[in-house]
C-alpha cells in the first residue's frame, strides 16, 4: 500500500493548479450567484407557502414539489439540453448552471424559510398586530428578524449541499472544478493526484463556509 502511494507524483499537481484554479473560480461564481438568487427565490416562495393568497400558494407549492421531486442531474440536463429546444434559445453552460443552482436551492430554501417563520410563536404576531402594526410591518420588524436567526443552521446545510451539487454541472460542460479535474485526469492519467486535490478543494470551501456561518450565528446571538 505504502509502496503504491509512493508511485504517485504528487508534486506534479502544482503544474495543474492554474487549471484547477479556473475550475475553482467557476465553482465559486456559480455557487455564490446561484445561492444569492436561490435565497431570493426561497424568500418569495417560502412566504408563498404560508400565504393566504390561493394562487401564490399553489404556484409556490408546485415549484417546490417539482424541484424537490426531481434529481439535480436531471434538472441540469433538462435546462441545458431540453429547454433550448422549447424556447429556441441556447444558453451558455455557465448561465444554465447558475439557473439550475438557483432554482434548485430556491426550492429547499423556501421550505427553510417557511419552517422558520412558522416556528415563531403565534403570540409574537398577535402582539405586533395588537399594537397597531400592519401585516407587513409585523413581518418586517418582528417575525422576520427572529425567523432569520433560526434559518442560519439549515441554510448553512443547504449552502454546502448546493456547492457540492455544482460538481454535477460538469455533465453540461460548465468549466467548474470537477470538469477541470476530469479533463486533466483523462489526459494525464493522474486520477489519484487530481481527484484527491479536487476533493480537498471542495472540503476547504465547505469547511470555510461552516466556519463563517458559525461566526455569524454567534454574532447574532447577542442575548
Amino acid at each position: 500500500m505504502l509502496e503504491r502511494l509512493e508511485r504517485f507524483n504528487w508534486a506534479s499537481v502544482i503544474d495543474f493548479l492554474p487549471n484547477l484554479g479556473t475550475g475553482l473560480y467557476y465553482t465559486l461564481l456559480i455557487s455564490v450567484v446561484g445561492l444569492l438568487i436561490g435565497f431570493i427565490l426561497g424568500g418569495i416562495f417560502g412566504l408563498g407557502r404560508i400565504s393566504k393568497n390561493k394562487f401564490f400558494y399553489v404556484v409556490s407549492s408546485v415549484y417546490i414539489e417539482v424541484v424537490r421531486g426531481t434529481p439535480v442531474l436531471v434538472q441540469a440536463i433538462w435546462v441545458f439540453y431540453a429547454l433550448p429546444l422549447i424556447t429556441g434559445y441556447n444558453m451558455a453552460s455557465v448561465a444554465a448552471g447558475i439557473v439550475v443552482i438557483s432554482i434548485n436551492s430556491g426550492a429547499y430554501i423556501a421550505e427553510i424559510v417557511r419552517g422558520a417563520v412558522q416556528s415563531i410563536d403565534k403570540g409574537q404576531h398577535e402582539a405586533g398586530r395588537s399594537l397597531g402594526l400592519n401585516q407587513s410591518q409585523t413581518m418586517q420588524y418582528i417575525i422576520w428578524p427572529q425567523a432569520f436567526k433560526r434559518m442560519i443552521p439549515p441554510l448553512g446545510n443547504q449552502f454546502i449541499i448546493s456547492i457540492k451539487d455544482t460538481s454535477l454541472l460538469s455533465v453540461i460542460l460548465v468549466p467548474e472544478l470537477m470538469f477541470q479535474g476530469r479533463l486533466i485526469a483523462s489526459n494525464h492519467f493522474n486520477a489519484v493526484e487530481i481527484y484527491t486535490t479536487v476533493a480537498v478543494f471542495y472540503l476547504v470551501i465547505t469547511l470555510s463556509l461552516s466556519y463563517i456561518l458559525r461566526y455569524v450565528e454567534r454574532r447574532l446571538d447577542i442575548q
Binding site: E126, A127, G132, I142
Partner: protein, 240 residues
C-alpha cells in the same frame, strides 16, 4: 365607550360566543370571570379583532368593528392588549420593545419614543432594565414591560387576557399593583382574570361568563357575596 350587541363567534361548527350584550363606560374597570372554556378570552380577543366577529356588533368609541371598511390597524392603536404569556419581542431590548410601535405606527421620532418609553418604564418601576433583553427579566417584570409597551401607544382602552396566570405566585402582586394604579389613573380596562381579590378590590363591575354568554353581571360586592345565578354560585363556591 364599548357597546356589544348580540356578539356571536364560532370556530367552524363550534360556537364559543352565543350572544353577548354589554355596555362598558369610559374609565370603567370590568373584570370577566368564569370557568375555562366559557369564552372569556375569545370575548376579549373580539374587542380588538384578534378574532373575527361571526355575527353581531362591537362598537368602540363609535367605530363598528363589524364594518368591513373599518381600518383595523387604527382601532388597534386605540386598544391596548396584554397577553397571558407577555409576548415581548425577544430580539429587542426592553426600551426597543416600547419604542417600536410608536415609531412605526404613530411616526414619532426616535428621541421622542425613547423619552416616552423611559417615562413609562419609570411608571412600572423598571427604568433600570431599559437596555436589557426580555429573557433577562423575571415573569413579573416581563409582564410589567408588556403593560408599558401597550401604554406607549396611548390607548383609550386596555384589554388584559389573564395577565397573571403564567406567573409564579410571588410575582403576581407586582403586576396587579401596576394594573391597580392604571385603574386609579382612569384607564378603561377589561380584565379576564382568576384573581378574585383583584376583581373584588379594583373592578367597578364583574361579568360572570359561562357557556358563551354573560350569565350574571353586577358590582363585585354583590357578585361575590350574593350571586343570584346558580352557575355563579357553583363557580364561586369552587374557587373561593
Amino acid at each position: 365607550m364599548i357597546t356589544v350587541k348580540n356578539l356571536h363567534k364560532s370556530f367552524g361548527n363550534n360556537e364559543v360566543l352565543k350572544g353577548i350584550n354589554c355596555e362598558i363606560a369610559e374609565e370603567e374597570v370590568v373584570c370577566v370571570i368564569g370557568p375555562s372554556g366559557s369564552g372569556k378570552s375569545t370575548f376579549l380577543r373580539c374587542l380588538n379583532l384578534l378574532e373575527a366577529i361571526t355575527d353581531g356588533e362591537v362598537i368602540i368609541d363609535g367605530d363598528n368593528l363589524g364594518d368591513p371598511k373599518i381600518n383595523i390597524n387604527k382601532i388597534r392603536t386605540e386598544v391596548g392588549m396584554v397577553f397571558q404569556h407577555f409576548n415581548l419581542f425577544p430580539h429587542k431590548s426592553v426600551i426597543e420593545n416600547l419604542m417600536l410601535a410608536p415609531m412605526k405606527v404613530r411616526k414619532i421620532s426616535k428621541a421622542e419614543a425613547r423619552k416616552r418609553g423611559m417615562d413609562l418604564l419609570e411608571k412600572v418601576g423598571l427604568a433600570e432594565k431599559a437596555e436589557q433583553y426580555p429573557s433577562q427579566l423575571s415573569g413579573g417584570q416581563q409582564q410589567r414591560v408588556a403593560i408599558a409597551r401597550s401604554l406607549a401607544m396611548e390607548p383609550k382602552l386596555m384589554l388584559f387576557d389573564e395577565p397573571t396566570s403564567a406567573l409564579d405566585p410571588e410575582l403576581v402582586g407586582e403586576v396587579l399593583e401596576v394594573m391597580k394604579r392604571l385603574a386609579m389613573d382612569g384607564m378603561t380596562m377589561v380584565v379576564v382574570t382568576h384573581e378574585m381579590g383583584f376583581a373584588r378590590e379594583v373592578c367597578d363591575r364583574v361579568f360572570f361568563m359561562d357557556e358563551g354568554v354573560i350569565m350574571e353581571e353586577g358590582n363585585p360586592n354583590q357578585i361575590f357575596t350574593d350571586p343570584q345565578n346558580k352557575r355563579t354560585q357553583a363557580f364561586l363556591n369552587k374557587i373561593l
